[in-house]
């Protein structure tokens, strides 16, 4: 994932949030602080989420991949939250259905094909039950970040 900015400082570990808004705002604040996305990014993500939700019923826990239109992104980036208590996201295909999401992958993306391999690798990763389970059990932010980096890089080679 050489082109996508991500490290342990972009991981929020085991915090308790009440709503998806809180999670997205917390993660977005980190990306804004680093200058990877524009200040309006958080609002744009939330607005998009209300029309096109991003909750996915993966196993053993559900994930969400919130993002915004490319114009809010300065440098492609990823921020991740692992939640002690799931928060509700709309199901991607049907906003009236809610899924209990335990891991949130907030994506900052440009238009174009440069992030295709990264996205596919990330998706392949959380499609594997064992891998997602391991991510839920990682000891700390550093370990979690390194597992995601390794997991994505390994799968980028494959696609």
């Amino acid at each position: 994932m050489s082109d996508v900015a991500f490290d342990e400082t972009l991981v929020v570990m085991d915090k308790s949030f009440q709503t998806k808004e809180e999670v997205i705002e917390t993660l977005a604040a980190r990306l804004i602080e680093k200058g990877y996305v524009k200040p309006a990014f958080a609002g744009a993500v939330l607005e998009r989420e209300s029309k096109f939700p991003t909750g996915l019923p993966t196993k053993p826990v559900c994930v969400a991949i919130p993002h915004a239109d490319p114009e809010y992104c300065i440098k492609p980036c990823l921020a991740v939250a692992r939640l002690t208590k799931p928060v509700k996201f709309g199901l991607m295909t049907n906003p009236s259905v809610q899924v209990d999401v335990s891991m949130v992958f907030l994506l900052g993306l440009h238009k174009g094909s440069d992030h295709v391999t990264f996205l596919c690798a990330l998706t392949e990763m959380f499609q594997e039950e064992k891998y997602l389970k391991d991510l839920m059990e990682a000891d700390d932010a550093r370990k979690l970040a390194s597992m995601i980096e390794k997991g994505v890089s390994m799968r980028e080679g494959k696609t």
């Binding site: 996915l56 239109d69 295909t93 392949e124």
Partner: protein, 99 residues
Amino acid sequence: MAKFRILVPCGSGIASSTICAQKIRKGLGERGLDVEVKQLAFRELQGEIGKADLIVSITPGLKSDLNIPVVNGLPLLTGVGEKAVFDEIISKLTGGTKQ
């Protein structure tokens, strides 16, 4: 046989549809089907429908009276039930009313 054209719309045409489109290219390629898969933003869909054979849907809000077969692509993103999606795409492309 002519090349099939598949559209994958999502909110902005950059994330979910990109993942989904890539999976379809790979999955159908492995099954020996010649397809062109295009990911696009939902708002661009109307102008493209006439030139396509099938839509793989992963977003809400798709009208039900579109004169084109639609397949639910959510399993391609969750990994749960992927094979059934490919089977349905192939059956709708090769055995459907359009061909």
